[in-house]
Each structure stands twice: as C-alpha cells, then as structure tokens.
Amino acid sequence: MSLLQVSGLAKKYGDAIALSGADIEVEAGEIHGLIGENGAGKSTLVKVLSGMVKPDAGDVTIGGEQLRLGHLRASRNVGIRTAFQELTLLPRFTVAENLLVDELPTQLGMLRRRALQSRAADILQEWDVTDIDPSTPAWQLPLSAQQRLEIVRALNGDPRLLILDEPTAALPDTAWIFKHVRAAAERGAAVLYISHKLAEIEELCDLGSIMRNGRIVGQFTRGAFDHDDVISQMIGRSIDIAFPPPLNRVDTSAAPALHVESLAVGEQVVDVSLDVRPGEIVGVAGLEGQGQREIFYALAGATGLTSGRVSLDGQPADLASPRSAMRSGPGVALVPEERKREGLFADMSTTQNISVPILKSLTRFGLVRRRAEQSRSGQAAEEHYIRPDYLARQIGSLSGGNQQKAILARTALTGSSIMLMFDPTRGIDPAAKLEVYKTLREASAGGAAILFYSTEIPELIGMCDRVLVVYGGSIVAELTGSAMTEDAVMRHAVGKTLQEAESI
C-alpha cells in the first residue's frame, strides 16, 4: 500500500479543466518527480493535496486513510507539508517567527523571545542554513534565502508527504536541497518533487510521472529516463487547428519597430535583447515564471524596468506608464494575461469596453457622444469578428473568446502599431482562437509589429515568423523556419543548452 494514493482527481474552473482523472501513487521513502507543461495541472494537484482547493471528484488517501479534501488543517494534520512555488512567508515577520508561527513558544501566555530565537537558530542549523540570521525580517532576505526558508519550513514539520513545487526556481545551488530531500526520504517521507528542470528530476528522483491535460500520461524510473521520450510525452498535444496563412511577407531589411537591448527587470529578467520588425509576429515561449511576463509588462510600461534600452521606430521609448507607452512613437499596447482582472470592465457593455482608448475623441463638451461611440466600437467589433448583438451586452456575460476579441478590438483602437500579446488565446474556444489568429494576421499585414507569448507551443509555431525561448530570465534560443519545432522549443524551455539540444 502506497503512502500517497491519488485516484481520479477532477477539477474544473468554469469551462477550464485543470484536473481530469489524475492518478498518482508515491511510496514512503520514495522521491517522485512530477513534470509537465504549463497548465498541465501540476499546481492544481499541489493545491488539492495541501487542502487549498476542493476537487470536483476523486480520492486521496494517506497511509490508507481517506484525506478530508479542501481542508487546510486536515492536510496539515496528516503530515502533508508543502514548499510552495509562490512563497508563503510573512514579509514583516522575522525568520524565527516565520519558522515557528504555528507553535510560538510561550510562558503564561507571553511569547518567549529568547526561546523563539534559539529554537529558530537550532532549526536553521539542523538544516544547514548558516547564513540566515533568525532575527532578520523576511522581506530583507534575498529571494534565494526566502526560498530556502520556505523549504526549511516544509522539511521541519517532519512530513509524511513532502511536496516541493519548483523549489529551485530561485535557488541556484541544488546540492543543499537534494541532500535534505534525500534525507527526508530516508526517514520515510514520501516526496513529490515538481520541477521544470529535467536534469534535476533525473538526478534526484526514483520514479516520476508526466502530466498533461490534467492527468498522468506517462511514467519513468531512475536509470530509464529518456529525455526525448519524456519531452514528447510532455507536449504530445496534437495540432488540430489550421492556422491561417500569413497575409504578408516580412521585409527583413526593414528597421525594427521595437528594439530592446539588454533589458533587465528586477531579479526576474536578466539581459534580454530582441527586435520586432513591422509586419512581423515574433513568438515568445517559456515555461511558467521564466521572466516572460515581466518582459511584456515592462515593455508596456506597466511595471518599471531595472535597466536596458528600448526604442520604437528608432526613437527612445517612454515606458513610465501604460499611458506613456501607448503615446510613445508608434505606441505600445498590451493584451494582458488575466483578461478578467486586468483587461475588462465586467459590468460595462462591450461597446464601452472597446471604446475606452478613443473616448477623448468621442466627447463633446466633456460628454461622450454615445452614437459616435457605438459606430466606432461597432466597426472595430466587426473587424474582430464580434457579433453585433453582443455590443450592448455586459461584457462579463460573454464567453472568454468574445471577451478576448473585444480586448483585441480595443487594442486596435489605441492606434498602437506595436502589440504585445500575452497569451491571448488562454481559455478560449477553438472558433474564437481561429478568429484571434486571423486578426493577428490582419494586424501584421497592416504593418503592426507583434510580440506574441503563448503557453501553447503549436500556436507559436503555427503563427510566428520566429520564436524566442526564454529560460531563467534570458532568451536562450531563437528558432526560425524548419528549426521551429515543438520538440526544439520544449528542449530549450526546459533549460537544456543549445549544444545539448542539437546533439540529440
């Protein structure tokens, strides 16, 4: 009987399927690797096991006992400890308070500061963390120290099931974590180790599972870890959409409309340089959290950039705010990642959502001329394949696909000819996807320079002139023409060097 048995987990968020019949077993003392593309369902699985999310169906047993699902305390009480990818530290608490927050030492109701310090120091020493002072507030620590603290918290709970979700994302040195994960397994813990980095999985894990589309699609064992095989199982998604053919040819001699040189954003983006010419669609591929979001948001003026030069049509860009980015030279417009939160005014009509950027030109004496608004929005909607009868409806009541098309229509109205598309087809239906592709083609035929990030690699290959792969905050590969294959993109995305990728 395995220590952890997961069977038939299913979870939907609205129309989106996160888990669909996931089964997994991990023995006590086993280090089990879990890999999969973005959106394969790994993080939802972690959330279910940690009690953060209640699945729609399925069972989890720990040591033969049924786990009460969707209950944080139940998961804790049976000994599940998770080091989350997105850290759960309390920023203003000291290291010591963070380590012992659920079991603060007290005497007569009063906190024993001295005992807290010394117990925290003991804990840090036990896990070989010698460079962190227990009295430092968490926010003052560098990211790598914060990540180690998160891991120590999970290790220190003497877990029966230890879950590590991308534990090395901000941790260059794997020796430390490998040592302690192995030790935890030797003490009898079952370990679920999630990483994008194949080399780590290969080195550390006894057994592993490959996740895709919300379920486990393959297994591998130590010594029989075939990179090609694993990668092909990770992608395995069939291209069942016909991509519309390009309407224009890119003039490769033209000066770039968007020129980025040595861009750095915080700790997430280091030294990114890229060019996008008029009429060109340049794809960006990367596994979650490799800095792609920061690149797009910095170029759109939504977050500050740490250093680097950005020019638009040869002129230095003003990226102080989204407003100034839109007005800078040919203008930069972003289609943001989270449509609902960042892109929509859900209670307003589709017409109103589309007309936002041109409201100023639609006003007379400070009042919006509704009829002019309707005709301009209506025209933009038609060009973006939105049915006219949706215009008067609250945009929040439309499907994701129609919402996204409205956002694209709005983006077109900004008049910006540099478009940053951050995962524009996420969670929308195939018909709407096709229409999004068509509008991208039409925009690029009209001379727009498009930077296009997608979590679906086939889409990038089908739509883009070139694909840039980001990993660890920099561009690790640029693929064009016949070298632009799903396989090659994934190889670079999981962090293999160029030579390695070519030698296979």
Partner: protein, 337 residues
C-alpha cells in the same frame, strides 16, 4: 542595509515619527502658554486624551489585521450614556458592565465579519449608526449622574496624576499583548492572511478575538469619558469616529494592516488633543483647527509613505502567495453565448 542617513532610518519607524510630531506641539505649547505649563494643565490634557487613547488603540488592533472598525464612536456614545443613567446607581459595578457592553458589540462585529464574511466597513458602520441612535434613545439630552467613586478613581491623584499612570498601564498592556500568540498572529493576519492560514494558524479565531478585544477597549473608553467629563452626552462620542482614525494615521500604522504600533497611536491621540491647546493660546479659532488637523494628517501619512517606500516595495514582493481556489489553467473553453 541601505546607505541612507540616520534621519531616514529613524523616520522609518512610525512611533518615532509620531513622537517627533507630539514633541513639536508640546514644545510649542510650553513656550506659548502664559506662565508655562502647570501640573494642572498637563493633567487636564492627559485626562481628556485618555478615552481617545483607549478607543484609538482598539481601532489600531483591528487595523493591524487588515480590517476596519468604525464602531468605536458608537460604543463610546452608548457606554458613556449608560454610565450616566442605568449604571450610575450600581457604583463600582457600572464600570465592568460598561466594558462588557463594548465586548458584546465587538463579538457581534466579529461574528458578522469573520463568520458571516460580511465587509467590515459596512458592518461596523452599521453598528456605529445603531449605537449612536440607541445612545440618544437612552439619554436624549446631556445630563445624568456619574458615580463619584468612579470619577475620583480616574481623575484623582496618586503621587502623580492618575492619568499618567493609566497611560503607562495602557502602554504596558500593549507591550504584553504584542508578545502574546494572538498579538503576533494578528500582525500576521494583516500581512498576508492566506500565507498565515497555510502556515497552520487559525486566522478566523485571531480576527474574532481582535474585534472582541477592540470592543472591550471602546467600552472602557466610554466609561472613562463619562468619568472625565462627569456627565452623560450621547453626541460627545461622535467625534471619535474621525479622531480614532486620525490618531492611527498620525501614529504611523499602515491602514493596509500588518505594521505599526499602538504606542504610535497613543502618541497620535495625544497630539490630537494638544493641538487645540496650542491653537487656543495662539488665538486661532476652532474652525481653523480642523483645517490644521487635516493638513497634519496628510503630512504625517506622506512622510511615512516616503520614509518606508523601499521597504513597502520589498514587502509586497514577498506577498505572492497563491490565493485559495484561484483559477489556474485552461485547456479548452466552450462557447457560452
């Protein structure tokens, strides 16, 4: 860590900022007051501050958790008139009963906010309005009688004026509370409730307790106010709605929760009650006083924001915890309309 001046580092502490503000006004007062400051003048100032200090401290505890509580003024009004009416014949017993009334209101707020998950601003605004009305029902016009023993207890002398002793007791209780499990966890709730919950802490219980404790303090504030002004007045509490929040702002606590000190709020409350004295000796009218207070609040918040800017940014960077039940991925989507 950063190479900034000593001044900048000191100003990062909200309590220090509040102490500096108060010091400026105290110096101004002592210079301007004809014949200098007397024990009598200082005592009357501190006595008048005492109820505001108590109520604002309660508000601060709630704000630490990232919530809001507008009910303080309502509780103060009700307990103030209760002390002058129904409770006045009970002698000593009136005091704990008034405090109990405050605690009950706090529990009621806590129940609606924590258990029923209603927005704290709406809930506590409603309790404020209800209690303000109740106070007028109980005592439509100012008057009533306060038990002389209670008046003497708060206003009397014990080597030094008792007001000083009470302020020290409040400060001491804060230092104790801050070191209880609940006190520590309450800070954590305000920083990132989700992260704290994932760390195994019963977040709801902490919030509930804080609302109850705050209500208790408001009840005590109302009783002390009755003893200080020696009469019951249903409308006297209404100024507390704004004054408590003004004291928190000057005291340097973050309205988003998770940082600050009750000591700062105490100093903020003392500042608010010393301002009229300074302006009075300058011969400036009461209306100008409001303008002045408003500008002071903006200045205090502004200095605080500038002083803690870089800290705030780094703190935000740590708060990236995933939210429970957040939608993650999408594989396909059906056409709805």
């Amino acid at each position: 860590m950063e190479r900034r001046g000593f001044v900048a580092r000191v100003l990062r502490n909200g309590t220090v900022r509040a102490a500096l503000v108060l010091a400026v006004f105290l110096i101004a007062w002592s210079v301007l007051q004809l014949g200098g400051l007397s024990v009598f003048l200082i005592n009357s100032w501190l006595l008048l501050s005492l109820p505001l200090v108590l109520a604002a401290s309660g508000v601060t505890l709630v704000i630490f958790t990232g919530e809001f509580d507008l009910s303080a003024a309502g509780v103060v009004a009700v307990t103030n008139v209760l002390m002058a009416t129904w409770l006045s014949e009970l002698g000593w017993l009136g005091l704990p009963l008034a405090v109990l009334v405050g605690a009950v209101v706090g529990l009621f707020n806590g129940f609606l906010v924590v258990v029923m998950r209603l927005p704290a601003i709406a809930v506590t605004l409603a309790t404020f309005i209800i209690l303000g009305g109740l106070a007028l029902v109980i005592l439509p016009t100012p008057g009533g009688r306060i038990d002389p023993g209670i008046i003497d207890f708060f206003t009397g002398q014990l080597v030094v004026p008792r007001s000083i002793i009470f302020l020290m007791v409040i400060a001491l209780l804060w230092l104790l509370y801050r070191n209880t499990r609940m006190g520590v966890h309450a800070y954590g709730v305000g920083q990132d409730a989700e992260a704290l919950r994932l760390s195994g802490v019963a977040v709801d219980r902490v919030k509930f307790g804080v609302f109850a404790l705050a209500g208790t303090l408001y009840g005590l504030a109302g009783a002390v106010l009755a003893a200080v002004v020696q009469t019951g007045d249903a409308t006297i509490g209404s100024s507390y709605l704004l004054a408590t929040f003004a004291a928190v702002a000057i005291g340097g606590a973050a309205f988003t929760g998770g940082s600050g000190s009750v000591l700062g709020t105490m100093l903020g409350a003392l500042t608010l009650t010393v301002i009229p004295k300074v302006l009075f000796v300058l011969g400036i009218s009461g209306w100008v006083q409001r303008v002045f207070e408003g500008m002071l609040i903006i200045a205090a918040v502004l200095v605080g924001a500038v002083a803690t800017q870089s800290e705030q940014r780094k703190v935000q960077a740590v708060k990236t915890t995933p939210k429970v039940e957040a939608p993650t991925v999408s594989v396909s989507g059906g056409e709805r309309p």
